[in-house]
Symmetry: C2
DNA sequence: CACTATTATTTGCTTTTGCAACTACTTTCG
DNA sequence: CGAAAGTAGTTGCAAAAGCAAATAATAGTG
């Protein structure tokens, strides 16, 4: 089938919708997370990625990529979480330049509560909006974009097999 | 067809992909916009929405919603653009509390150049990634989400018929 | 009409973010 | 080995963003 060309305007619109949707969700979640857990959406992003990683830990640089922060942004974010007692740093024994961010016991406990709550909130927003098929499609299309923008690696998909770069865990 | 339930994990992943995609695009565009036009992505968002509105103007509050900023964030953003001579404020004659942000001649000239460039950049990223059909699907799914999160109004779709709340234009 | 409630935007102040420079380590290569 | 180049993370500083309170104008009510 001859594909009708997509016009510039439509592409710009799609990008605009993507930005608006992300910002809208961020604000929505932030309100609740702030109220119920005193967490910003950004902190939560950092925590959830740790929580979903093997050993509840991730290299700083990897975490920065996953949480959409620059290295310096992540350093401060982890500083804050550390002050709150939710995260600790662990030097990488293999490479002493490197550091892991690790969920503390307290952080783990918090996330064990917060993640189901958050998932329920996400459900609330998406469940009645999309069919299961649409949701799958959206996920696939977004993953394609994400992988294209970064390097097919990073993030959420949680293809666990990497991440454990630093065998000498505590 | 009985819809297989979507698992919590998958929903969380989808949301994560959305955040990552948006952040990735923002960084990508920002780099080029900064280099070629000395504009942040945020400023550009404000400008492009003005440029695509009838009369190149929009109420502050409407613009804030479209650009994913809080009212105060938008005030400062417009302050900066005004200092750069790209935007001006116009008091709404109907309602003297209200203000319009308007593209100046200079701002219009800038955007007449910048938008095609930006559109080309967006094309570069999306053209070979998605089929026309996929792109349409993505756009539809995102629009549904955006409309659900806000009030089916706002933004890009540019259903021009509103916006002209303030008849007494200059 | 005076009086209270609402709405639109701005301002004061604090937090978050980013860039660029810096430190500390590792790797490469002569 | 030892200097040069590269990598991981942190810090100083400045820009941007948000919240809450202030301002200004409009709407509603008795």
């Amino acid at each position: 089938m001859a594909q009708l060309p997509v016009k510039d305007d439509e592409r710009l619109t799609t990008v605009g919708l993507l930005f608006e949707s992300a910002a809208g969700l961020r604000r929505l979640f932030e309100t609740r997370l702030e109220a119920e857990r005193s967490l910003s959406n950004q902190s939560f992003e950092v925590l959830i990625r740790l929580a979903r990683s093997p050993g509840s830990e991730l290299r700083m640089s990897e975490l920065a990529a996953q949480a959409s922060l620059t290295p310096s942004g992540l350093t401060r974010s982890v500083d804050r979480l550390q002050e709150q007692g939710l995260v600790a740093r662990r030097v990488c024994p293999d490479d002493r330049r490197g550091a892991f961010a690790v969920l503390t016991t307290e952080g783990r406990a918090l996330m064990d509560q917060a993640i189901p709550d958050h998932a329920a909130h996400v459900d609330e927003v998406l469940r009645d909006l999309y069919t299961a098929e649409e949701e799958q499609t959206l996920s696939d299309l977004l993953r394609k974009l994400r992988d294209h923008l970064f390097g097919a690696d990073a993030a959420w998909g949680l293809t666990a097999e990497d991440a454990d770069t630093c065998p000498g865990a505590e």
